[in-house]
């Protein structure tokens, strides 16, 4: 069980960090969301794992798990919501103000071209999900 949780935490961290290092705001937001999960799980795991031992008094309880990390993580979850909401709005505002959702600042704000070392590849057609709409959808 411990190993499983450790793998989950590690994977979420890796995925979160990878996305945070992408070049667009939305990826970064998703990345921070993933990082939030992993950090919360990590903090929670610092109280060690226990099954069927919630920290709620009961006549039938055999024992209780550590309540302190739970209390800390609970507020962390709520605060991370607040933080995510702020970041989402900042990203939205930045996109509306600058017409681009790129993360890195260009030397010349007018120059929206990519860096020389960032060779753009063609959009991969393998990717599923939303495609650009085809046809006339004028309302």
């Amino acid at each position: 069980m411990e190993a499983l949780l450790a793998i989950i935490i590690g994977l979420q961290t890796a995925g979160g960090l990878y996305l945070v290092m992408r070049l667009r705001t939305f990826s970064v937001i998703i990345g921070t969301a993933l990082l939030t999960y992993s950090v919360n799980l990590f903090l929670f795991a610092s109280g060690r794992l226990a099954i069927n031992m919630p920290p709620i008094y009961s006549k039938y309880a055999e024992g209780y798990t550590d309540p302190l990390p739970q209390a800390l993580v609970l507020t962390a979850i709520v605060i991370s919501f607040g933080m995510t909401a702020v970041v989402v709005l900042i990203a939205l505002g930045a996109f509306l103000e600058s017409d681009t959702d790129q993360i890195d600042v260009r030397r010349d704000p007018q120059d929206l071209d990519l860096d020389p070392d960032e060779v753009p590849l063609d959009v991969d057609s393998r990717e599923p999900g939303l495609q650009e709409p085809k046809g006339d959808f004028a309302q």
Binding site: M1, E2, A3, L4, L5, A6, I7, I8, G10, Q12, T13, A14, G15, L17, Y18, L19, M21, L23, R24, F26, I29, I30, A33, L34, Y37, N40, F44, R48, N52, P55, I56, Y57, P67, L68, Q70, A71, V73, T75, V78, S80, F81, G82, V88, L89, L92, G93, F95, L96, E97, D99, D101, I103, D104, V105, D117, P128, G129, L130, P133, Q139
Partner: protein, 955 residues
């Protein structure tokens, strides 16, 4: 030395700051009122100080101590001995005269309230330096003088010279102040105490300490920059851009004397070593000669006086540097004398400037016929500056020459006397020039303004000082003898047997040097024209140009440095940060012994494997499909839901409930935002870059996984047992997590909800900012590329959410009420209620819903924080600390006995804040949507099923 506690001391230190309040507020009451209110505070402080004179004369040290942070050695301790008394008298006495003089000097256009406020602030800071017993507090006041002098020097904000001079003074003295902080900390370390009274007793310990040398250098750096010693002297002449009252105050009695005060104060513990003699003595000697040399050729009256001040400060520094008690006594005497004649000279220079509308010596001359009173005052005080017998300047200059005559410098007995005599010659020259070229000679007819003597108020102050110059000069022993004894004793820390001060010492080397100085001065002045030609032929390194070049270079260097490190590429910073952290962790791991964990592990069941598989596959899918943004939102939702299931499985029901509700709210917000963002992320990273990022994040993932695994498989003791034992007896609840949140760690939670509230208000403000400017235009011209559903508010959803609304609210209330004893509480209940409201907005549209909810969400946040705060404050009335909770059990028929706890009121605050924050965030996003001209539905549904043609738009 005996000590005497006296609260008067604190009062004296506080009075100038109290006095600083009034002039700024009273400017509408008129200029006299301003001057009076400042003068009143200064006079009161001076009188209080004089009441302490008997104790000081008895050799007592008056102290007043308030413990502030005793563990850090930072106490508000004040002390007053002879030296402090001398400086206190100078600061307050000259301050009083300056206040009087400035009232007449400043014109109607100058904001006088501001002036007196700055002046009193400065006065308070200076007084703080000289009365502080704690050296850290002294440093604080020291910095305060730098800041307030910046305001004073730059008082005429409209002049470029004023602004630049102020900035230069702040830079130089501020940097010195930084060095001084370091020096004082080292000194305190070496002495083992931060209290001066203690430090002054520990000379041997300090001088034997390896910290002595660095401490000495740093402290001297602070003192030299403040006292304008070569090569830091250049800021002082530029500070002359200030109004003359400021120059007279800062450069005669106060600011520049602070450095001298510091050297005199620490003289008993720092002086007497070779390092002290060579650094301080030589710097003083060089400064004295260079200052006097430049002063001769300055045509600006104030510049002449400024360089003369530099020269005299050098003289005093040199005397302190000699390290003998006799030299220190001479230094003290010259501090007194210089203050008196220099303040008067600055004021007379100001009068000339004020009346003749020029300060250029080249345009003046013959003023003795036009302004006889001013001329008399100026001549008397300038003669004192030159060191002519029967003035006070003569006394200390004689003593200085006497000391110089007996000083050997690197086994050479001639160097110091020679340069001291040269300095005396030069200073006699500029003093004579000041007299001859301004006041003597024929009357001219081309003054910019017809000069005449000013009103009495303006010359009263310099006249008083000129009288003092004469009285002290003629009857030295009777006037300043005993005072000098007291001050010299406190500077040297021993009882001295001083020779009587007298005019005639017989034929001594000093008399010869003095005579040579006067004759040399007269000779040089008579040959002034060729002498000036010679000066003009010499190269003149312009200190300001050098200073500006240094500042520009530093500025460029810093700019380059931060441009390289901080080039706006966040991805780079994150990569650097991650690699550094992993490397640090690896180093820490490899440098310690490793023991495998011993804690028994739990066996996973099939459910656990399924859950893990779900998280793993959704995370991998997120990375793989991260360009498809809508898909990613679905995947991250899966991830978050499984995380909440993990919480349930591992005995954390509260966390699970919070996670589920937060997940829902977050996803809704992200969906709303995605509406205005590109729906896909372009592929723009090269494969190299992807490989690099994969490697970094993979390493970080492995590191974190290993760390988490290591943590989970080891036992260690925590403080959690306390919470488990005391939740019921201490907090009155059986849900330990909730009791911790609202009771044991209520302060944390209080902070959290404030942060959450601030975050929501920030979101609101950001949304508000987008309603203006470019973003607003982008939104107004928004073209929607994707087709909207014709049925934006489906009937089924509308009906379902409305039916569910009361039920959801009920659930919210239930979760809130049971929170103290079962999973639930304010956070979760708040989120549940927020979701219930959100559902209404989503199903029926924003305007339909907001027409029916009239409460602004800002006030939810405000009330929430207020309720939580008031609950916490309530504990004060029971004599308990903030946020101590109380609880009791109530029994009302026919309900079962139930518990009431103040923690519940606190939880209510949490609840309100959470609801307000979530809804305010949503409100901000929906406002952006409406800005795009999105049609707003008025009816609850887009379709009216009862109409004959349901597809027709509702009216």
């Amino acid at each position: 030395m005996t000590e005497q506690m006296n609260v008067t001391l604190a009062l004296i230190a506080a009075l100038p700051f109290v006095g600083a309040l009034f002039p700024g507020l009273m400017i509408r009451a008129g200029r006299d009122a301003c001057a009076l209110s400042a003068g009143w505070a200064t006079l009161s402080a001076l009188i209080l100080l004089l009441t302490l004179a008997p104790s000081v004369w008895d050799g007592e040290t008056v102290v007043f101590q308030v413990e502030w942070m005793p563990l850090l050695g930072l106490n508000a301790n004040f002390m007053l001995d002879g030296l402090g008394f001398l400086f206190g008298c100078m600061i307050l006495g000259i301050g009083l005269l300056i206040i009087l003089y400035a009232r007449f000097y400043l014109s109607r256009d100058d904001p006088m309230g501001q002036f007196y406020t700055y002046l009193m602030l400065f006065q308070g800071a200076m007084l703080g330096i000289v009365l502080s017993d704690n050296i850290l507090m002294m440093v604080v006041f020291w910095e305060l003088t730098s800041l307030s002098s910046f305001l004073l020097i730059g008082y005429w904000k409209h002049t470029v010279a004023g602004r630049q001079g102020a900035r230069m003074a702040l830079t130089v003295t501020g940097l010195g102040g930084l060095a001084l902080i370091g020096g004082m900390l080292l000194l305190g370390e070496a002495a083992g105490s931060y209290d001066l009274t203690e430090i002054l007793q520990r000379r041997e310990a300090i001088q034997d300490s390896p910290l002595y040398m660095p401490a000495l250098l740093l402290i001297l750096l602070g003192a030299f920059t403040k006292s304008a010693q070569f090569p830091f002297h250049f800021w002082l002449p530029h500070a002359m851009a200030a109004p003359t009252p400021v120059s007279a105050y800062l450069h005669s009695a106060t600011m520049v004397k602070a450095g001298l005060f510091l050297m005199a104060r620490l003289w008993p513990v720092l002086s007497g070593t070779d390092a002290w003699f060579y650094i301080v003595g030589t710097t003083g000697l060089v400064t004295m000669v260079i200052g006097a040399w430049i002063a001769i050729f300055k045509d600006d009256l104030k510049a002449l006086l400024a360089y003369s001040t530099v020269s005299h400060l050098g003289l005093i520094t040199m005397l302190l540097g000699f390290g003998t008690t006799a030299a220190a006594t001479a230094a003290v005497l010259h501090i007194i004398n210089h203050t008196i004649f220099k303040a008067a000279l600055f004021m007379t220079a100001g009068i000339v400037d004020h009346e003749a509308h020029t300060r250029s010596i080249k345009r003046l001359g013959g003023l003795r016929h036009l302004m006889p009173i001013t001329a008399t005052l100026a001549i008397v005080t300038a003669l004192s500056m030159a060191g002519i017998p029967l003035t006070n300047g003569f006394l200390s200059k004689e003593l200085m020459l006497e000391e110089a005559a007996h000083t050997t410098w690197v086994s050479n007995p001639w160097i110091v006397p020679l340069f001291a005599t040269i300095g005396a010659v030069l200073s006699a020259t500029y003093a004579f020039r000041f007299i001859a070229h301004v006041f003597l000679g024929p009357v001219r007819h081309d003054y910019p303004s017809k000069p005449h003597d000013p009103p009495f108020g303006m010359y009263a102050a310099p006249a008083l000082l000129a009288v003092l110059v004469m009285v002290v000069g003629v009857f030295p022993e009777a006037t300043v003898g005993s005072f000098l004894q007291v001050v010299a004793d406190s500077v040297t820390g021993q009882h001295l047997h001083l020779h009587e001060l007298k005019l005639w010492h017989g034929f001594t080397p000093a008399l010869g040097m003095s005579a040579a100085a006067i004759i040399g001065g007269l000779v040089l002045l008579s040959a002034y024209v060729p002498f000036e030609q010679f000066w003009k032929a010499l190269p003149h390194p312009e200190a300001k140009a050098v200073f500006d070049a240094i500042v520009t270079t530093l500025h460029r260097g810093c700019g380059y440095f931060s441009n390289v490190l901080h080039d706006g590429r966040m991805t780079k910073y994150i990569a650097i940060f991650a690699v550094t952290t992993i490397a640090a962790g690896l180093y820490a791991f490899s440098s310690g012994p490793y023991l495998p964990g011993t804690r028994p592990m739990l066996t996973p069941t099939l459910v656990d494997y399924v859950g893990a598989l779900l998280v793993i596959s959704s995370t991998v899918a997120i990375i793989n499909y991260h360009r498809s943004r809508l898909l990613v939102l679905v995947l991250i939702g899966i991830n978050g839901l499984v995380v909440s299931i993990i919480f349930v499985r591992l005995s954390a029901p509260d966390l699970a409930m919070t996670q589920v509700t937060v997940e829902v709210v977050t996803l809704i917000l992200m969906l709303l935002a995605l509406h205005f963002l590109p729906k896909r992320t372009p592929r723009e990273s090269s494969w190299n870059r992807i490989g690099r990022d994969m490697a970094i994040s993979g390493a970080a993932g492995i590191a974190v996984a290993a760390l988490a695994y290591a943590l989970m498989t080891r036992d260690f003791s925590t403080i959690s047992g306390y919470y488990l034992e005391n939740a019921k007896p201490g907090g009155g609840g059986t849900n330990v997590v909730n009791v911790i949140l609202v009771d044991f760690r209520g302060y944390d939670t209080f902070g959290e909800i404030i942060v959450l509230g601030i975050a929501a208000l920030t979101i609101y403000a950001l949304g508000e900012a987008l309603m203006d400017g470019k973003a607003s235009r982008t939104l107004a011209n928004w073209v929607q590329h994707y087709p909207y559903s014709k049925d934006r508010h489906p009937l089924m959803m509308v009906v379902a959410t409305r039916v569910m609304m009361p039920i959801s609210l009920m659930v919210g209330v239930y979760i809130f009420l049971r929170g103290h004893n079962d999973p639930g509480g304010g956070f979760i209940a708040g989120l549940v209620v927020a979701i219930a409201l959100l559902m209404q907005y989503m199903a029926s549209g924003f305007s339909w819903a907001s027409e029916r909810i009239h409460i602004p969400y800002h006030s939810f946040i405000g009330w929430g924080v207020l309720v939580a705060g008031i609950t916490g404050i309530g504990a004060w009335f029971a004599g308990q600390p903030f946020l101590t909770s109380a609880f009791g059990y109530v029994h009302i028929e026919p309900i079962e006995e139930f518990e009431l706890a103040t923690a519940m009121a606190f939880d209510l605050g949490v609840f309100l804040t959470v609801v307000g924050a979530v809804m305010l965030a949503l409100y901000s996003l929906s406002r952006i949507a409406r800005r795009t001209g999105e049609t707003v539905n008025v009816a609850p549904m887009d379709f009216d099923p009862s109409a004959e043609d349901p597809l027709e738009e509702p009216r």
